[in-house]
Symmetry: C2
DNA sequence: GACTATTGGGTAATCGATCACCCAAGGAGG
DNA sequence: CCTCCTTGGGTGATCGATTACCCAATAGTC
């Protein structure tokens, strides 16, 4: 089960050359050497099944070709998908690997970051599952190169976040262009994303000179959570009974939309004919599987991942700033 | 942004002792040394912000405290959640970190495994997104310690897979105990999990001396995929119109169940009063958010992860074998 | 009081890869 | 024929942590 590791000196011995020549032949593209020697060394390396020992190289260089990603449980969440894809793609083209470490509840940020630092990564990012503020201890603010999906409380680190407000404006405008005028919003209460989306929602309607038909919290608790008892069904029923029955319902996320679908089906209403439904997140397994498929603003997760890696690996560090990345509209059949 | 790394010799110099003493004080619990010296060294290490350099230790030991997990895209799938949690929990208690590497389509298994081997991990696992067979090249069969959610084609590596057939038997028995007698199965066609679940489904009914009301494929393509056009709605409609209207529908997974819910709602039928619905996977965001919440057989993902790590880190390697892990029933309100 | 354990801690080698520097052979130019 | 430069490749130091081995001082024993 354990494979005996082949080292450069094994190859050197077999080839009758020095270790440095082997190193040059395999890794140093510019090392002066006859083609003959280079080919011979490569052949022997191949034959012996040589695999570079990055730990050894790492001691010399002072770092391993790793980019650490510390996340508050994100790596085990479906939302991580695209962030990791974005990071990983960009990392590989730079010869780096992504090393994800979970920041488990109860553990201090400092201790997770130290855990990561033990591996001497080239750079470290912090990613959050939900768009929020994260306080980094002074000692560590310098160790983190970029914040993904969250903002460093003191603004000392460049942060990449979705442009919640802009995304909300865009989806509202889209509903307006589709001819909808009585729009309700069942929102995620108490979290940053929800608050910003609501600002965008209100601004876009105001800009159009229209009143909304209601803004409601999806759950009873002040912070959105999947476990909290849902208020969605009762809000929808109340809306339908009210004098101002909406012709569009905007949902805080796709799971809320799923519940809205169920409530509308019970009421015998058709989507989008009677009421349009739109949402945020684009959680594909849900959005594409609903009937009709859900029109939703996709979070810029992959773009955040890609951009994060570019920033981390950049030669010239930029001054820290907040970068808002645009959502993009995924048009399906629910509007 | 880059933190200047503190080494043992920095501490040694500051403390006026040798490097070996520092090493012993910080890492070698059993090294002979006065408590005085040990405390002094620890204090200085703390003060300077020392973080162990695992790369350096790794050169000496021949391996890094990493467990590589190669997966066919699993790490970016919601199903990875629990596997990684299981792996990670067990790894941490052993002082190891999980290093996940994506096996991207188009890349050979050999090249991904080599990528991982560069980091000299203590052990390597291969994990699959869907329960299936994976062919490992001869050269590499010895490098992988355990297969998770898949079987090595030639059986040379211990494999941990869900007990699909047993899980299907259990959920069918549960439906029978609940008094259901006319059970239909809308299954995932063409994949191993689906075939095994169907065997269990048929066996449990046969054991009870009952006929099923129909077994249908969820999609038109021979291999289940989210993109394939869904047949669920039409199957449900056909079932309801048939003389043998079912009193329970078993679904290949929670997404299929989601579509069954929608079709039943359109038909004005109540769950579970008119028809019970049960399923496989326990994809929590869906199963717990449906109305009524979905009764489903949870995949033993976390258990597979935990057991995998135990096997990987075991002193004595076991002979390779196939281990089927039991599903567990998550009772909610749909039966 | 001399002799042996025991304790506290230093020295130097080692892991594998890299790199600055040196050396030898051979060709070009004067 | 001598010097200079280029090419091909070796020597030895280095990165940081660990470890086998050694040495000095102290404590304990007869």
């Amino acid at each position: 089960m354990r494979i005996v590791a082949v080292s450069l000196s094994d190859i050197a011995e077999r080839a009758g050359v020095s270790v440095k020549t082997v190193s040059g032949a395999l890794h140093g593209g510019s090392a002066r050497m006859s083609d003959d020697t280079r080919q011979k060394v490569k052949a022997i390396a191949e034959e012996l099944g040589y695999v570079t020992n990055l730990a050894a190289r790492g001691v010399r260089q002072g770092w391993l070709p790793l980019v650490g990603v510390v996340s508050d449980g994100l790596i085990t969440s479906p939302f991580a998908t695209e962030i990791v894809r974005g990071l990983d793609g960009a990392a590989r083209s730079a010869g780096m690997a992504v090393f994800a470490v979970n920041h488990r509840s109860g553990q201090s940020i400092g201790s997770v970051l130290d855990e990561v630092q033990q591996f001497r990564p080239r750079a470290v990012a912090y990613a959050a599952m939900y768009h929020k503020d994260v306080a980094l201890p002074d000692r560590l603010a310098g160790a983190v190169g970029v914040m993904i999906n969250c903002r460093e409380a003191a603004g000392r680190v460049t942060a990449l976040v979705p442009d919640e407000e802009g995304g909300a404006r865009e989806i509202v405008r889209y509903l307006l262009v589709a001819g909808r005028r009585r729009i309700a919003f069942i929102n995620l209460p108490g979290i940053l994303a929800g608050m910003l989306r609501e600002m965008g929602f209100r601004a876009a309607l105001e800009e159009a000179g229209i009143d909304h038909v209601g803004v409601f919290p999806a759950v009873r608790r002040s912070v959105y959570s999947d476990r909290a008892p849902s208020l969605v069904a009762s809000h929808v029923e109340a809306l339908l009974k009210s004098g101002q029955r909406p012709d569009a319902i905007l949902c805080g996320n796709d799971r809320v939309a799923m519940e809205v679908y169920a409530a509308l089906a019970r009421a015998g209403l058709r989507i989008p004919d009677d009421i349009a439904v739109a949402s945020f997140d684009n959680q594909v397994e849900i959005a594409s599987r609903l009937d009709p498929p859900l029109t939703t603003m996709a979070l810029p997760h992959r773009a955040m991942g890609r951009l994060a890696m570019e920033i981390l690996l950049a030669e010239q560090p930029e001054p820290p700033r907040l970068r808002k990345l645009p959502f993009h509209l995924v048009e399906r059949a629910s509007v």
